[in-house]
């Protein structure tokens, strides 16, 4: 007798889950599995005959100079962008955690660019950084400083992209870290002050340790996001000059949607997934060890 209500309950549960499960399987899980399968084929968007090629796409990745360069550019972006965003976000959060006149407006001003679309960001910054017609070079020339090539110089272009990304994305670490700072009990600071701890000591002994989980969360999110960098690069430099800012997702896009090599593009995508998974696993292990030491 008890079996029937349990079965009914399970059925009802599945029925409730169905509206979420069906789109999940259809639009998320199935494409992931299909993408993995594609990476072992020579599939083309033109619908030409699809053949299973085993690991050939992955072997080709290892020997592909454009892939290696795009991966290198992506790593450079991650290494430059993540620390800059974290440090800037933390400094701004510390600053905006103080009481000051017009605090809400100042906080909103820093967070606002985060809400702007990539295309608008690209237009704004091309207007500022264009070597021939940009505002920044006009200002530099006006005060007698040498103008720069910014987006047109291979040595400067990635730096310019990091700068653009900082302006655009700093709102996220700022918001999350600010919320983390406000969770730290005020009486800890008060007790430290009574014990004679200076601002620097309070930061190292109280703020940083208690903010560490939030910092780690922001770090992971920014890291994954940085590996997936595409829109601002594609729209501002198109991967140039001389391929110096072509990143992995752009190469994936070009391979899949301009060269129509869906199989190879899928292999690029899965290689990126494995890289992000590996880096995140290392971080998790380090954090656990760091947490245990603490």
């Amino acid at each position: 007798m008890a079996a029937r209500p349990r079965r009914t309950q399970a059925l009802v549960a599945w029925l409730f889950l169905l509206p979420f499960l069906a789109p999940f399987v259809l639009f998320w899980a199935a494409p992931i599995v299909r993408g993995l399968y594609l990476s072992f084929t020579n599939a083309s968007l033109t619908g030409a005959d699809e053949r299973f090629v085993g690991l050939a796409n992955y072997q080709q990745l290892v020997a592909d100079p454009t892939y290696r360069r795009a991966l290198g550019n992506t790593v450079v972006f991650v290494v430059e962008n993540v620390p800059v965003l974290l440090v800037a976000g933390l400094l701004l959060a510390l600053l905006l955690n103080q009481s000051m006149p017009g605090l809400a407006a100042i906080r909103a001003a820093f967070v606002a660019p985060y809400l702007i679309t990539a295309s608008a960001v690209a237009i704004i910054w091309q207007f500022v950084l264009d070597p021939a017609t940009g505002l920044l070079n006009d200002w530099l020339a006006a005060v007698g400083l040498p103008t720069q090539r910014w987006l047109s110089e291979p040595g400067q272009a990635m730096g310019a992209i990091v700068l653009i990304t900082l302006w655009w994305r700093v709102g996220f670490p700022l918001l999350v870290l600010l919320a983390g700072l406000q969770e730290i009990p005020g009486d800890l600071y008060e007790a430290a002050r009574l014990d004679g701890a200076g601002a620097w000591q309070r930061f190292w002994r109280i703020t940083l340790p208690l903010l560490a989980p939030v910092l780690f969360f922001v770090f992971i999110i920014r890291l994954i996001d940085s590996f997936k960098v595409f829109a601002q690069v594609y729209l501002v430099t198109g991967g140039g000059p001389i391929g110096s800012t072509r990143v992995l997702i752009q190469y994936l896009y070009e391979t899949g949607f301009q060269d129509f090599r869906s199989g190879y593009a899928a292999a690029i995508g899965w290689s990126l997934f494995v890289i992000i998974l590996g880096v995140t696993a290392i971080q998790m292990r380090l954090l656990r060890r760091y947490g245990a030491d603490e």
Binding site: G47, G240, P241, Q258
Partner: protein, 425 residues
């Protein structure tokens, strides 16, 4: 008793409703079959001023005949456009009539109908030969070429005057071009700016120097030939030796802005810019002029070009009416609307050249110069890996032009890399 009556009323009401709906549907369908014209989607990449001109042409067609109603649209340009067509074709539901660039034909051939030009009343001899052949792939005609966009020299006449040059005599050869570009490079502006993306000047220089891009079998690149090196050397010299070309990479869509802003005095531009240039001369009192592409090397008459080809796409299930009416529409466009189309692009129909020269519309009259160049039009080759090849080539040319890398060794490196790509095809 009351319940029975209520039940009967309800049944009667339901029956009457169903009968009424079926009757209305049948009447509507009958009227549709009898009178409504066949709806045909015509999808293009005309996202600029050319879209407005084509909409007007389509409206004229819809008003003059009762059998088809053409719905014009321009959803995207470039890779996104082709991707949309490919995915729609794979789903069996592409627009029946499409505009394509020549390089977009090969990936789509299995989704395109072969056309019989003679049956549509189109005579090959009336069309620019190079442009006609663009729609031929593996011996089959997959489209009819409406327009051929060659590059020409666009220059600022005021800048010419300020630099002591005669605005009525724009450069016609390499030496004149270099001298003009040097004289024009002054007061914080540059004589010339190169397009480092799809419209690299190197392509025209290389063809004029007698070079080509790939071997006829498509298995080897020809980027390290003496002609290719001479062409690349000119690109580099204009920046580093003659100091007459903007030394920074600028995205293609930004180049016309430099011309309009007075930061650059000469550019190579296609006919689709003529409308905006003439509007600027009229409304903003600018003084832009245009001339045929100078002869940088005299071994072969050549100029880089693109094209607009109109094709019919296969649908699932087959739609013979769309195919027939679509063919008629394309034939009408080419034969009857080419002069109007010259307000936006250079028609491939040579028969209309006389009408264009006598036109009241100054844009149409000026467009004749672009049409006259079309006999020497050169196009990138059909190759399944061409986009990948071109990316490597343009990156090498950026290194040569902007960074001043050694011409021969860079071209050798690019050629070796491209040959690896071609070997995988």
């Amino acid at each position: 008793m009351t319940d029975t009556l209520r039940s009967l009323d309800r049944r009667l009401f339901l029956r009457a409703g169903v009968l009424g709906a079926v009757g209305l549907h049948a009447a509507g369908r009958g009227r549709a079959l009898a009178a409504d014209p066949k709806s045909l989607d015509f999808t293009t990449f005309y996202v600029g001023a050319d879209g407005g001109i084509m909409q007007g042409i389509v409206n004229r067609y819809n008003a003059m005949q009762p059998t088809a109603k053409v719905n014009f649209s321009a959803p995207a340009w470039g890779a996104d456009y082709l991707t949309k067509l490919l995915t729609a074709s794979l789903a069996g539901n592409p627009p029946p009539i499409v505009a394509l660039h020549n390089y977009e034909i090969p990936p789509l051939t299995r989704f395109l109908y072969e056309l019989d030009a003679a049956a549509l009343g189109i005579k090959k001899e009336n069309y620019v030969e190079n442009a006609w052949n663009l729609a031929v792939y593996e011996g089959k005609l997959y489209g009819l070429t409406m327009s051929t966009g060659t590059l020409a020299l666009v220059y600022n006449k005021d800048h010419f005057q300020q630099a002591g040059l005669d605005p009525a005599k724009p450069p016609t050869n390499r030496d004149e071009f270099i001298r003009a570009a040097q004289a024009l490079t002054r007061d914080g502006r540059f004589g010339f700016a190169r397009d480092s993306a799809g419209w690299m000047p190197w392509l025209t220089y290389n063809w004029q120097a007698g070079g080509n891009l790939l071997t006829p079998d498509g298995k080897k690149a020809l980027f390290d030939t003496p002609a290719a090196a001479e062409a690349a050397q000119l690109e580099q010299d204009l920046i580093h030796k003659h100091k007459a070309c903007l030394p920074t990479q600028t995205a293609s869509p930004e180049l016309p802005k430099l011309l309009y802003a007075g930061k650059v005095s000469m550019l190579f531009m296609g006919p689709w810019n003529l409308n905006a240039l003439m509007k600027s001369n009229r409304d903003n009192k600018t003084n832009f002029g245009w001339a045929k592409m100078p002869v940088f090397f005299d071994r072969k008459k050549a100029v880089m070009a693109t094209s607009h080809i109109y094709s019919l796409m296969k649908r699932k299930p087959e739609d013979p009416a769309a195919r027939e009416l679509g063919g008629k529409f394309i034939a009408w466009l080419l034969e009857e609307a080419s002069v109007t189309w010259a307000q936006a692009q250079a028609p491939a129909n040579k028969r209309v050249l006389g009408q264009m020269q006598k036109s009241d519309d100054p844009i149409v009259r000026n467009m004749t110069m672009w049409v006259e160049q079309a006999d020497h039009a050169h196009f990138p080759p059909y190759h399944p890996r061409w986009t990948q090849v071109y990316r490597a080539l343009s990156q090498g040319m950026e290194a040569i032009s902007f960074r001043g890398d050694d011409v021969k060794s860079t071209l050798r490196g690019v050629t070796a890399g491209v040959n690896d790509i071609l070997a995988q095809a």
